[in-house]
């Protein structure tokens, strides 16, 4: 089965779970006076779940024939691309999200830019390191001072 049909299957199950909630569980806690309304909080979701199920079934069962198109990236040959780099960068982004608060903006951003460059194959550390540090400081200065949005620059235990 092609990837688009697998995705349609996943989306169909999401729509079914959503529909189940809308049709069978949502209305139980509704206040009696709201039940007299022509529209309930579940009305629109009910319509949407039906639409979603129909559209995903059309794709899943291949009812709409599509012209063969060459995708930008052939997912069947993912190994030919720089998949490792992409996955490492995603992991780095998750790490950045987790570090941003406890480690502070300056250190985590400089680290992110430095490691990102290193993952992509940059080996001129003497350029990469100052570029990462300067960029982190400039962005922090612009966001904090110019836009006025507070971002803790350094780890909390350093008193920042």
């Amino acid at each position: 089965m092609a990837l688009d049909r697998w995705i349609a299957l996943v989306l169909l199950s999401i729509c079914l779970a959503y529909g189940y909630t809308a049709w069978f569980t949502m209305d139980s806690g509704l206040a009696p006076f709201m039940k007299r309304n022509p529209i309930w909080p579940s009305t629109f979701p009910k319509v949407l779940s039906a639409l979603g199920v129909i559209a995903s079934c059309i794709i899943l069962f291949g009812l709409e024939k599509s012209a063969e198109q060459t995708a930008e990236i052939d997912y069947r040959r993912l190994g030919d691309y720089h998949l490792g780099q992409a996955l490492l960068l995603l992991a780095l982004m998750v790490g950045y999200a987790l570090c941003l608060r406890p480690v502070g903006f300056l250190l985590s951003t400089a680290g992110f830019l430095f490691l990102g460059g290193a993952i992509l194959g940059e080996r001129k550390w003497y350029i990469l390191m100052p570029v990462a540090a300067c960029a982190a400081f400039i962005v922090w200065y612009l966001v904090q001072q110019v836009l006025g949005i507070y971002m803790r620059p350094l780890p909390g235990f350093w008193g920042a």
Binding site: E64, H82, L147
Partner: protein
């Protein structure tokens, strides 16, 4: 209208707003030039900056400047590298890149800039005429008609998605609408589909979603497929002048394509990409035979047509946004999100309630186009140097700005995890050729669609508004036709093809 024009001029010509236009155009050109980063990503990245300014006119002027700049920057990388940064400028590379290879890169860039300027300016003139007319009609609309209009807009987006893509676009739109129902709705004051998670109480963040749908997959595609990040040679751009004969040859093309592009841009879902391809095709078909052979080999008409059409279409796409509050494209959907965050509700009342916003945007279009022509064109050889920044520096910075865009808006690190999660899903959807813009448009329109639907249901005490109001019924029938017709025609064409084959 004259009064409005003067208000607009006064607002747009203030020092701050002039700087916004110039800054926006420069930033847009700069980033739009990078292959893989389209106007949607750039605008999404710029939104937190725009919102933190607090002034809706300045914010919209900045974002609109970024939009034109990005389209112009996209043309530059199409012409110089044959690597369009934006789908709307793919057609520009058909003749622009051959011209650059013949050593006429400077001339090609000038033609692109002049054509963009003319397309954008004529588009803005048409916008000035049509937007007030359309909003005075739209003032008569009721919530039932609004609901139907939004349904038409969403179906048109699915209908224009292309052969075999209608169901995918429809599913993506529905998914966007479903995501919009998560959280506490204004109408019911009841948390829905939050699964008990406190962070979902206020729903998904629109900027996070925009970043995850566009900026992150594009950056990941750049990582996965490094060959597109070619090195540019800024030094090769010289001789920016065009001759009188060339100007005379492209003038009628520009005139025709400005009007055609504008009207295509007005249609929801069509936008700059379709306008540019259609403009190219039309001009090739009506050109004399000897000029037709030139198309694809460096024809100036072949470059001027898509460049004019895509800029006119960009301007045209502001018509439904400013007059009806309904975005017709991913980019205008992001602009709508930014406007709502700034407490401005685009729609027919925008011209009456906040004329300075409405007219300042139109005036800034003229100024923005002028800035692109006068300021950006001479700077292009220098701006093009950005193309030679190594990807080892470029990609971490793109990813960092994507993360920052989502973080600054909410100041919540959980948003970053959501961004990465949604980004991975969006990349998988792009692998499988699912269009992502309908999802975002559905998400942004979802709240308004439900509000109008609920209001009509309450006013008419049931769904009778559908058949009791003729405009609503007509619009809903049109919406159904828009979705069903392309599939029906494709099916009939296939059956006919099969019939011919059998007959042979």
């Amino acid at each position: 209208m004259l009064e409005g024009l003067l208000i607009g001029l006064q607002t747009a010509l203030s020092m701050q707003n002039l700087l916004m236009v110039i800054g926006g155009c420069l930033i847009g050109t700069f980033i739009g030039m990078l292959p893989g980063l389209g106007p949607m990503s750039i605008i999404a990245i710029m939104i937190p900056v725009a919102i933190s300014m607090g002034d809706p006119s300045a914010a919209l002027i900045l974002l609109a400047g970024v939009y034109y700049g990005a389209i112009f920057g996209g043309s530059t990388s199409s012409i110089l590298l044959n690597a369009p940064g934006v789908a709307g400028t793919v057609a520009s590379s058909f003749d622009g890149y051959p011209m650059a290879k013949q050593g006429k890169a400077g001339k090609a860039l000038t033609i692109a800039a002049v054509a963009s300027f003319a397309g954008g300016t004529i588009g803005a003139l048409l916008l000035m005429v049509f937007a007030p007319a359309l909003s005075s009609v739209a003032l008569l609309f009721h919530s039932a008609e609004y609901f139907a209009l939004m349904v038409v807009g969403l179906s048109a987006i699915a209908a224009f998605a292309g052969t075999g893509q209608v169901a995918k676009a429809m599913l993506m739109t529905t998914l966007g609408l479903i995501m919009a129902t998560v959280g506490e709705g204004a109408l019911f004051n009841l948390p829905r589909f939050t699964m008990g998670i406190m962070d979902l109480q206020s729903g998904f963040g629109f900027i996070t979603l925009a970043m995850a749908m566009f900026a992150l997959p594009e950056a990941l595609f750049l990582v996965l497929r490094p060959k597109t990040t070619q090195q540019g040679d800024g030094a090769a751009i010289k001789d920016l002048r065009i001759t009188r004969a060339e100007a005379k040859a492209i003038a009628p093309v520009i005139g025709r394509q400005s009007v055609q592009g504008f009207f295509i841009g007005v249609l929801p879902g069509a936008g700059a990409t379709i306008a540019s391809f259609l403009g190219y095709a039309v001009e090739r078909n009506i050109a004399p035979k000897h000029e037709q052979d030139e198309f694809g080999k460096g024809s100036i008409k072949g470059l001027a047509a898509p460049e004019t059409a895509n800029n006119a279409a960009c301007t045209g796409s502001f018509v439904p946004l400013l007059t009806l509050g309904i975005p017709g494209s991913g980019t205008t959907a992001i602009l709508l999100g930014a406007l709502i965050a700034l407490n401005v509700t685009p729609g027919p009342r925008l011209m009456i309630d906040q004329p300075e916003v409405f007219w300042a945007v139109i005036m800034s279009m003229f100024i923005g186009n002028l800035v692109l022509l006068v300021l950006n064109l001479p700077l292009i050889p220098y701006i093009a140097k950005v193309l030679s920044v190594p990807r080892t520096y470029l990609i971490p910075f793109i990813l960092f700005f994507t993360l920052m865009g989502a973080y600054i808006g909410q100041n919540n690190a959980t948003e970053l995890l959501l961004l990465v999660g949604f980004g991975i899903c969006a990349t998988a959807l792009r692998f499988a050729d699912y269009p992502l813009a309908p999802l975002l448009i559905g998400f942004i329109l979802g709240g308004m669609l439900e509000d109008n639907f609920s209001r009509s249901m309450q006013l008419f005490d049931g769904p009778s508004f559908i058949w009791e109001r003729p405009i609503t019924l007509g619009l809903l029938v049109l919406a159904v036709l828009l979705v069903v017709l392309p599939s029906y025609r494709a099916r009939r064409a296939r059956l006919r093809m099969r019939g011919v084959a059998d007959g042979d």
